[in-house]
Amino acid sequence: MKYDIRQLKLLSNDQIADGIFDMRLDYPEGEIPVQCGQFAHVYVPGKSLRRPISVCDARDGVLRLVYQIKGEGTKIMSQMQPGCMVDVLAPLGNGFSVQPGKRYALIGGGIGVPPMLYTAAQCDHPLVITGFRNEKLVILQDDFRTAGAEVVLATDDGTAGQKGFVTDVLRERIAEVDEVCACGPTPMLRAIAQVCREFGKPCQISLEERMACGIGACLVCAVKVRKDGEEIMQHVCKNGPVFNAEEVVFGG
């Protein structure tokens, strides 16, 4: 059986920025290994749907999920107390494919930043470019440094790091890297895909879509992709969440 639902003990669930929480779950080593960029489907008591949250980290027997309060479900998650058991279906989806010997630019925008941490931990001295709206939303900077990454911080309003977008930084530094991995809002991903195309760099992007089953059965989290010249519907949960940026039909 490929899938299993586990009751994981909540170790901590702290607010680390404005409306952003860091949930740490006991995930004993020897559990199913997590690939960077995969996600966990978290059961929220009283809700009809699980909440898909990208894996921020999965080292040292701890499954770390950094999430933002976006609605009722994530609000309930933020109120879960250490010691309680959390019902988690993980790991799901196809994550980032990173190879040794390559230099990567790992780009995260807002709540798209967390999955880049575990990705950074798999890469050799990656360039991590993180973008946030303002200083109140900045997260994980020290974690990236500890993971051996060079981190660049940008905010839209210049209240922390340099003022501007992650794509501005990417344009300046893209010559240094072999490949780009990114997660964040769709307009950002579209802009990054464009820059990568311009400079001829491979680009993997992690997409988000409203999801139900999480395993590819219900077909709700559709994304249009181009394969062999034909446009087809694939699904974020099963075929993604990471896709080759060249194949994604934005706005499809």
């Binding site: 899938y3 009809s48 479900g73 999801m211 590819g216 077909l219």
Partner: protein, 303 residues
């Protein structure tokens, strides 16, 4: 250990719990949780004559005790289903219902003919999908149209035929009677209730299709009421569905008049729900000295 097996229109199900169409794909994914033989059967994702890509996303929104969906019948088409999915499904030792939808009555008939030559155990006529522009529910909302499509498909169908009814109608009992009179072997009900959810900040509907079908616990009392009404109006068996979440819901739906059950939305929060419901059902039967689950069907004592 009570007998959980049921028969609908001569087709046997190992237990009354059937995965509802559209929530379970063609079974391959859930087979990674438990063997599909755990289920009484599977009603496969609705299939059409040709491949359909479905609606643009978002296709789902969460609502109080339920969800709205508008997938729009994304599927690979009947031929791919028959050639690539059905042979695998038939090896899984569970009962297979093919759910078919079309733009025209002719398309339904063509699919019924193709599927009649296969190993599917039953055909479910989907005339109740609220999320496609043509076909779907347009055939399911009047006695005349239900009667006509049932009659015509019946003439092309060599398999037991189940007609899946929409709750978005004024008088579901008379529609069920029309299906029965025109050759339906069973009724399955209810499909989703058309609903809408709007983001108050953007004033945009959450679902790109604007409206979607409501399912989940929110619709359960409506489903129970309708199954009860239809069970009094027809003599063919009913596969009851609509928001069944717990074993108590399953018992209630059987008592209301269902012979078998389909479960869907609960699978999204708890994929193991069918196993838990079967366990609870079995315990309830044993505790009450009931030998067979079939003894529950239609035993409601209305005031």
């Amino acid at each position: 250990m009570a007998d959980l097996s049921v028969k609908v229109a001569g087709v046997s199900f190992a237990n009354p719990l059937i995965a509802a169409s559209g929530t379970f794909g063609f079974g391959r994914e859930f087979n990674e949780f438990y063997p599909l033989s755990t289920l009484g059967g599977i009603s496969c994702k609705g299939i059409t004559l040709r491949r359909r890509d479905g609606n643009p996303p978002p296709r789902i929104a969460e609502t109080p005790s339920g969800i709205l969906n508008a997938v729009g019948l994304q599927n690979p088409g009947v031929d791919v289903f028959i050639n690539e999915d059905l042979p695998w499904l038939k090896q899984q030792n569970t009962t297979i219902i093919a759910n078919i939808a079309g733009n025209t009555i002719e398309e339904y008939c063509q699919m019924a003919e193709k599927l009649s030559e296969t190993d599917v155990d039953m055909i479910e006529l989907n005339i109740s999908c609220p999320n496609v522009k043509s076909g779907g529910v347009q055939f399911g909302t009047s006695c005349e149209s239900v009667g006509q499509i049932t009659r015509e498909v019946r003439a092309h169908c060599q398999k037991p035929l189940v007609v899946k009814l929409s709750p978005n109608v004024t008088d579901i009992a008379s529609i069920a009677q029309s299906a029965e009179a025109n050759g339906a072997d069973a009724i399955s009900m209810i499909n989703t209730l058309t609903g809408m959810k709007i983001d108050i900040r953007t004033r945009r509907p959450i679902i790109r299709n604007n409206t979607g079908g409501l399912s989940g616990a929110a619709v359960f009392p409506v489903a129970v009421r309708m199954v009860w009404q239809v069970s009094k109006a027809v003599s063919i068996p009913i596969i009851g569905m609509g928001g069944i979440t717990t074993w108590e819901d399953a018992v209630e739906m059987l008592i209301a008049g269902a012979t078998a059950l389909q479960i869907g939305t609960v699978l999204f929060s708890d994929p193991y729900a069918p196993i838990k419901i079967n366990e609870g059902l079995n315990r309830f039967l044993d505790e009450n000295g009931i030998q067979s689950v079939t003894e529950l069907t239609g035993t409601v004592k209305p005031w």
